[in-house]
Symmetry: C2
Amino acid sequence: MSVDLRIIKTKERLHESLIALLKEMPLEKIKISVLCQRAQINRGTFYLHYASVDALFADFFEQIIADLREAYLEPLRTKSPLKIKELDPKTVRIFHHIKKYESFYRIVFSKNVPLAYYYMLLEQITVNLQQNTNVSSYDERVQGYLVAYQANAIIGLALQWAERDFQETAEELSEILVQILRTKSE
Amino acid sequence: MSVDLRIIKTKERLHESLIALLKEMPLEKIKISVLCQRAQINRGTFYLHYASVDALFADFFEQIIADLREAYLEPLRTKSPLKIKELDPKTVRIFHHIKKYESFYRIVFSKNVPLAYYYMLLEQITVNLQQNTNVSSYDERVQGYLVAYQANAIIGLALQWAERDFQETAEELSEILVQILRTKSE
DNA sequence: ATTTTTATTAAACAGATGTTCAATAAGTGA
DNA sequence: TCACTTATTGAACATCTGTTTAATAAAAAT
């Protein structure tokens, strides 16, 4: 009852083909026709699995997001429930994660790419933050806004990092986050 | 030496056509061919002015951003240089601005739209924040990250607002921002 | 008012898209 | 191994894209 081997092979070839093409040109220039040609896959077959090149890329990014999810759980296992000053920068693995997949995030953060990837990342960071947040004095609505505020702020640092061509190390970014959070005079 | 009348008329017709079509279908479904048909403009002429439907929409959004720029300057004229606890929520006109152009921001924040619009908005908010920030103790680099953090956080509230279908009023959003900033225990 | 400049047009083009079809090949299950 | 199920294929289709061409129309300049 598992997935048909043919489907697995087809997707594998499309994945490889995308990775190869991404080394030659930006995502938005990759045509389905060329992608299929390289993968030795019929163009009609492509549409049986994906609606667009973007959907194929999203498939990749989904795996990367999964890695972020696991990476986040790691310090939780060691440090236990976390006595928080809520968001503890040491537990924020996000910057290491982004550095690890830098070449992907260059794409995810690029101008001509759909906002969908941003939302995928935002969603995962949001979930991570929520797990880290104890039930607070706020009502649920404000709680939602608070998390949205924090999650987006963190991505903001990542965007600025990308803007600066990822000059800093992941540790430096974490350090900067600490500095910002220490400055309570926002 | 001003702009040729024909160009103005062509762009006007394309603008009107886009607005009309946006009431019928999402931005990503609008074909250049249909757009030109409606506008009574030759398809070739379209390409003389814009590279894509997205570029045409960006033209609109540019005007909206300009409105945000001016709206922001308004309280500065009355209140003068601002003795800040840095970011003073009362001066943040952003939520009123977004509510005013709600139908546009529904598009700007939608999944299938390029990230470029997000960056346009982020850029303007960043500039606004920078004008409001006195030279601080931070070095320039951290300063840049701080502003990126804050600007994105504000957009984060707007994204959550959109997610909630703009239920709250602009005043409520400003109030929520105040609440969040008061909570120094981020 | 006439010349000069330049924007728009129609037509045509190769290429890409998205969809459908019957034929075929490959994998699954007994 | 053999029958069955289903993924892939190639071909064809209308449509959209992006670009180029010479002819024409409209605005600007004198």
